[in-house]
Every structure is written in structure tokens, then in C-alpha cells.
């Protein structure tokens, strides 16, 4: 508390010394100086410091600091180049972020609403079946060669054997017929045992004589050029911006 009072008095005396006080405050300080010797000493000390500093020898420039024309041209180039560098950096970052948004965000957005809408369509009473999933208004039931469980649960026991046999069936029940009671044999197409494709030459660069799975895994590498491009652009933008910032900090003082 006492130091705060001293600090206030110090500020007041310093301003008094420079003649910066309003008449009312000045009268208050005059009264203080008349009554308190400490305040007078304090003011005298401040006065002597100011006097010393004002009487200090004034240094003159040891040389002229004028700009020579060739130096001025260099500075002028910097004045254009550094903001250009900064702007191009920020532009690169902006383009990279925009590409990122357009490349990846729509996939994330699309995946969620489609599942929601299909669920909603399933739940909606009397809603028409989408054309892609129906033939003549009837839903297609694909049983993949496995006997239908008929809502009774289980029924997975024969799945492995059915798949290994390469058999699946597509069941298309008649209009109006309840799907649960339709027999698996009616309107069922079965496709069995795909023969190996021959005589076509290489498919996707894989010759027919080699083992397809191995060759695809070995020869075709999935390169995400778009992702690499966005990352490179972002990196360039960040580097340009950082360089411009550092140059500006160093030069534009």
C-alpha cells in the first residue's frame, strides 16, 4: 500500500517536473512540496537526473545513412517479393484445403445419409421400392445358395459349403406373394461353377497363366496421387508462408 502511494507520488512529481499537470493537481503538488521535505528532495533528485540526461553529449551520426540507388532497388525488389511469397503461400494452403474438402468430405457426408435414407425407406409404410432393388415392383431376394432361415434364426451351417461349391441363387417371388412363404425353388436362377476365363489375353496386366491373386498383389500398387498432391501443395504453402513471415520479421522492423 505504502509503495503504491510512493509510486503515485513519484508519477505526480515526474509530471510536475515536466509541467504536465492540470492547475488543480499542480496546486496540490505545490502544497505537498511546501509541507514535506522528502517530496522536495525527491523532486530535486528527479530534476538532477533530467538535467544530467539533457546535458549529455549529443552524438552525431558518424556517417551519412543515405540510400544509394542500387541498394534502394534491392529493397524495392524485397518490398514486392516478400508479400508475393506470402500471398502465394497462403493461396497454396487455401487451394490444398479446398481440394481436401472436395475430395474427402463428400464421401463422409454421402455415406451417412444413404444408410439413414435406406433405413427410413424400409420403415416407411407403403413406400415404393427403389427401382434398383426391384423387378416389376417385387423385391429381389438373394439367397446365395443358402436355405432361407424363414425368420427362425440360425441357418448358417451350410454357408461355407455353398460358397465353396460356387453356387448362389436369386429368388424372385411373384407379385403379392408373401416373401416368407415363397418356396426357395420357385423362380430361382442358379449359377454354378465359374469356369476360368481363357483366351482373353492379359486382364489388368495379369496373364491368364499366372495366379491372379498373387500377381495383382505383387504387380499393381495402389497409389493415391490425389492425396500425395494435396499434401505436397499444403507443405509448399506452409513453407512459402513461413519463409515470407521470417523474411518479413527480419527485414520489416
Amino acid at each position: 500500500m505504502r509503495s503504491q502511494v510512493n509510486l503515485d507520488r513519484l508519477n505526480l512529481l515526474s509530471e510536475y517536473l515536466d509541467g504536465r499537470l492540470q492547475p488543480k493537481e499542480q496546486a496540490r503538488v505545490d502544497a505537498l512540496l511546501a509541507s514535506e521535505p522528502d517530496a522536495r528532495n525527491e523532486l530535486a533528485a528527479l530534476h538532477s537526473v533530467r538535467k544530467l540526461l539533457r546535458s549529455a553529449p549529443h552524438r552525431t551520426a558518424p556517417r551519412n545513412f543515405i540510400l544509394k540507388p542500387h541498394v534502394a532497388r534491392t529493397i524495392h525488389r524485397d518490398r514486392v517479393a516478400i508479400p508475393l511469397l506470402g500471398t502465394s503461400g497462403l493461396l497454396s494452403i487455401g487451394v490444398a484445403l479446398t481440394l481436401f474438402l472436395f475430395a474427402y468430405i463428400p464421401k463422409a457426408i454421402q455415406s451417412e445419409p444413404s444408410s439413414i435414407s435406406s433405413f427410413a425407406m424400409e420403415q416407411a409404410p407403403g413406400a415404393p421400392a427403389p427401382a434398383a432393388y426391384s423387378i416389376n415392383g417385387e423385391p429381389i431376394i438373394i439367397t446365395w445358395g443358402v436355405p432361407a432361415a424363414g425368420g427362425r434364426g440360425g441357418g448358417g451351417g451350410e454357408w461355407e459349403s455353398a460358397v465353396s461349391a460356387g453356387t448362389f441363387s436369386v429368388k424372385m417371388p411373384a407379385a403379392g406373394a408373401p416373401s416368407e412363404q415363397a418356396t426357395p425353388q420357385t423362380d430361382t436362377m442358379a449359377v454354378t461353377d465359374y469356369p476360368p476365363i481363357t483366351g482373353t489375353g492379359p486382364i489388368l496386366g495379369v496373364s491368364e497363366t499366372t495366379t491372379a491373386g498373387k500377381d495383382i498383389a505383387r504387380n499393381i500398387t495402389m497409389v493415391n496421387y490425389r492425396g500425395i498432391g494435396i499434401n505436397l501443395l499444403l507443405l509448399c504453402g506452409l513453407m512459402l508462408s513461413a519463409t515470407a513471415y521470417l523474411l518479413k520479421r527480419r527485414r520489416y522492423r
Binding site: 509510486l7 515526474s14 533530467r50 544530467l52 549529443h58 552524438r59 545513412f65 541498394v71
Partner: protein
């Protein structure tokens, strides 16, 4: 040609116009840099840097007076230099204390009519340089601008972009600290007063 016309011409690439501004303010700029740093060579570098920065940033000049603006450049250059020096301390070639006198062109430049006056001036200069170095950089800027360069409070506030109240309180505290430091050099004061009387 007034300042604004010179600045306008300099903005359009007229180096001569800018150099006329430099010649007007270079002594003040150099003196401030010297008082801030206490070293001749560093002060020279900072003054040059400040004028380069002023030329680069001429387009951002919005004020009516060039002086506070260019002094701000000097202040910034000095603060940067002080920060650099804090990171990489250097041993100065100039004497820090009055008992380490080294003759150098800077000291010889302070020519006075008599040897006694020259000695008193030199000692005073050394004492002030030493005591200014003990102040924090912000307080040092304020006291140099007000008490050495004799700028008004408003000009200092504009130069340092600091509120007026902060300028006043920093100045008061800086004066008090200088007074504490100069206690050891108070025998210089009569010499100064004598010089003042003789000057008058």
C-alpha cells in the same frame, strides 16, 4: 519541400527525396540508438537498419509527422538488437566503467574547448551509458525519448505505440532508477552545472 511531399516522392521511387529525410533525422536516430545500446558500432548498424526498414515500409506510413515514425523504426531495431545480444552476449570494446578508459574515435569526437571539460563530458557520458544499460528496454526507450531527445509525452506514446499513462509511469520509474544508479557518479553534477553556467 515539406515532409509529406518528400514522403510521397519517396514512395514513387525518388531516392533523393528519401535521402533528404534521412539527412534531417539521422543524427537524432543515431543518438537514440547509441543511448539505447551504448555501443557505437551497434548503434550505427541499427540506425542503418532502421532507415532501410523505413524505406521498405514507406507505403504503411499513415501519420502526419515522419519523426515519431522513423524513431519507432530505430526503437524496433534497437529492441531486436538487444534481444539478439541477450541470446548471444558480446564483450564490448568500449569501456563500461570510468576506470577502464580506452581511447577511440567516438570519444575523441566529443571535442570540448578545454581538457577539463572534455574529461567531465566523457565521464558524464560513460556514467549515463552505464546507468541506461541497467534499465529495462521499455523504460530506457521512454527516458531516452523524453529526457535525451526531448520529445513530448504524446509524441513518445505515438512513437512507441504505448498508452500515455504507461509512458508517464515508465518515465517516473526510469528517472528514479537512474537517480539510484547515478548516486555513484554524483560528483559529476557540479561539473555539469558549471558547464551549463559557462554555456549561458
Amino acid at each position: 519541400m515539406d515532409e509529406i511531399a518528400l514522403i510521397t516522392a519517396a514512395r514513387q521511387g525518388d531516392t533523393d527525396a528519401f535521402n533528404r529525410l534521412v539527412l534531417t533525422y539521422q543524427d537524432m536516430a543515431y543518438n537514440m540508438a547509441y543511448r539505447m545500446l551504448g555501443e557505437v558500432s551497434r548503434a550505427e548498424e541499427c540506425t542503418q537498419d532502421a532507415f532501410f526498414a523505413a524505406y521498405r515500409n514507406l507505403n504503411s506510413f499513415r501519420g502526419s509527422s515522419f519523426k515519431p515514425w522513423v524513431l519507432r523504426m530505430v526503437h524496433n531495431a534497437c529492441i531486436d538488437e538487444l534481444r539478439r545480444r541477450k541470446r548471444r552476449p558480446l564483450v564490448p570494446l568500449e569501456p563500461l566503467h570510468h576506470d577502464e578508459e580506452v581511447e577511440s574515435p567516438a570519444w575523441l569526437a566529443d571535442t570540448s574547448p578545454t581538457p577539463e571539460e572534455a574529461a567531465a563530458t566523457r565521464e558524464l557520458d560513460q556514467a549515463i551509458t552505464h546507468c541506461l544499460k541497467t534499465l529495462p528496454p521499455d523504460a530506457r526507450s521512454v527516458i531516452v525519448l523524453v529526457d535525451v531527445e526531448e520529445l513530448g509525452y504524446e509524441e513518445v506514446a505515438a512513437t512507441l505505440r504505448t498508452p500515455l499513462g504507461t509512458v508517464k509511469s515508465r518515465l517516473a520509474r526510469a528517472r528514479q532508477k537512474m537517480q539510484d544508479c547515478l548516486q555513484g557518479f554524483m560528483e559529476l553534477l557540479p561539473a555539469v552545472e558549471r558547464l551549463d553556467r559557462e554555456g549561458k
